[in-house]
């Protein structure tokens, strides 16, 4: 602990030593020069391009999406427009981008048309990363699907990361020729690499996706932070235990929340399944899974399940499973941050 405090003091004092120049607040419209340069480039692109060339430039160079939203589809909320999403993805260190485009869909539409998240696709030597989670109803979660074609070098393969400082030794695998990224439309942050491949040059599933219009920008509503709970099992381990249990034969979404058993009981959820003899303040990871859940008593798989993983010893059990797309009570549950102590 002393060492931590010393480190914190070193960082704070080191940063606070920086002199701050006396500069005024830049007013709106003054700009830094870059927007004017971009506007000039855009004007040149418009001048040199006919309709076909203009579209190609849009899609391939200037970062403006060539996909056209379908006016017949209901608009979806997003804090970003298509052009901004492309600029965001171009900002990551992906490699050489020959073509890029974006569509706005719900997470449910993406999974139904493109299949589950397969971030290691095309690389048989990679290890599967398991399910990928989002919170809330997949049919209501809007995501930007960004398809990229070119020569793409991931940071690592298990799982794949882009945009970080590459490892000191090069990856032994060939580059991907295309990749699909999912960007959470409300906060405007990357969710995951949806898919990637070394065959073909473009993800064919992207062309089959619908494209919704954007409603008025929506601001994410932050929730008040809750006090952290001390656990010996972190979120990754809790998810891993749930996946490895085999209780779900397929997973399209998996999301953990940390709370006490008392908080879980207080929400009016399926508290009857709480194990007997467990203290109210015992931390528990409540894991919601959408996919195919195998009922403990046998029978047809159910569409979602909620599991409890003890935050102290990692013991896991299926609490409840049901039909429909998502356990709606899960969205109302609290979520503490975890203070991870020694492992189980």
């Amino acid at each position: 602990m002393d060492e931590d405090l010393r480190l914190e003091a070193w960082v704070r004092e080191g940063i606070d030593r920086y002199p701050v120049p006396d500069l005024p607040l830049r007013r709106r419209g003054e700009g830094s020069g870059r927007p004017r340069l971009l506007a000039l480039l855009a004007a040149i692109a418009l001048l040199v391009g006919g309709a076909g060339l203009g579209q190609a430039l849009n899609s391939y160079r200037t970062g403006v999406a060539s996909a056209t939203p379908d006016p017949a589809l209901a608009p979806l909320p997003s804090s970003l427009d298509a052009a901004t999403v492309l600029v965001l993805v171009r900002g990551w260190d992906l490699g050489r981008i020959d073509r890029i485009d974006a569509k706005l869909v719900t997470f449910e539409e993406y999974v139904r048309i493109a299949g589950p998240v397969r971030s290691h696709a095309g690389d048989p030597q990679a290890t599967a990363v398991g399910g990928f989670g989002i919170s809330g109803d997949p049919a209501k979660r809007s995501v930007w699907v960004v398809a990229v074609g070119g020569e793409l070098w991931p940071y690592g393969r298990v799982p794949i990361f882009y945009g970080l400082t590459p490892p000191t030794s090069p990856t032994p695998f060939p580059p991907y020729r295309w990749a699909v990224f999912l960007v959470d439309a409300i906060p405007g942050e990357i969710l995951t690499v949806g898919d990637a491949g070394t065959e073909d040059s473009w993800p064919s599933a992207f062309d089959r996706l619908p494209d919704h219009r954007v409603t008025a920008p929506v601001r994410a509503t932050p929730t008040a932070p809750l006090a952290p709970l001390a656990v010996r099992v972190d979120a990754g381990e809790a998810i891993s235990r749930t996946v490895r249990s085999g209780a779900a034969s397929s997973i399209i979404a998996i999301t953990p929340k940390l709370m006490t058993w008392a908080e879980f009981s207080a929400t009016g959820g399926p508290a009857a399944h709480r194990p007997a003899g467990i203290a109210d303040d015992t931390p528990v990871w409540i894991i919601a899974v959408a996919g195919a859940i195998l009922p403990q008593g046998g029978g047809a798989p159910l569409a979602w399940g909620v599991f409890g993983v003890d935050g102290r010893d990692g013991s896991m059990q299926l609490l409840v499973a049901g039909a429909g797309s998502w356990p709606s009570f899960f969205d109302g549950l609290p979520n503490h941050s975890a203070q991870v102590t020694a492992g189980p």
């Binding site: 060492e3 931590d4 010393r6 480190l7 914190e8 070193w10 960082v11 704070r12 080191g14 940063i15 606070d16 030593r17 920086y18 701050v20 120049p21 500069l23 607040l25 830049r26 709106r28 830094s32 965001l88 900002g91 990551w92 260190d93 945009g163 970080l164 400082t165 590459p166 906060p187 942050e189 990357i190 601001r219 932050p222 932070p225 952290p228 972190d234 979120a235 990754g236 941050s337 975890a338 991870v340």
Partner: protein, 151 residues
Amino acid sequence: METIDLRWERLYAEWRAPLYRAAVVLVGPAEGEEVVQDAFERGMRTEHFFDEVREPFPWLRQVVVRLALSRLRRRALWERARLLLDGHQASAYPDIAWALRRLAPTQRGAVVLRYYFRADYAEIAETLGLSQASVAKTLARAKAALRRDLT
């Protein structure tokens, strides 16, 4: 009643120094100022900002760190080359900047948010697009690297 412009001027006067210092250790002095100005400009362009954002400083520091990391990631190759050139030689910057520059962009952001701004794990996770468990791991790795430079 205070005008919107005056409120921004007052915010700028109050919070520019810590935001500028954080931006400088993340991206260097040349771009640090631009990052801070861009963050304020983004706020000023947001309609009803003061109605929707009750605490502007956490909002501003989140935007500053995100903008800085975005720039860092774009120039990752240049950073690596510069590190090779710098080696372990003394830097013209204070030691903290030299030590932070040796970290991956996400680690830098996590360290500045946690140790300089004293942000909690939830805010760090939201800012960096990580889970809270990943934040703990990122910070642990960053601390291990910084400890090597401290000793």
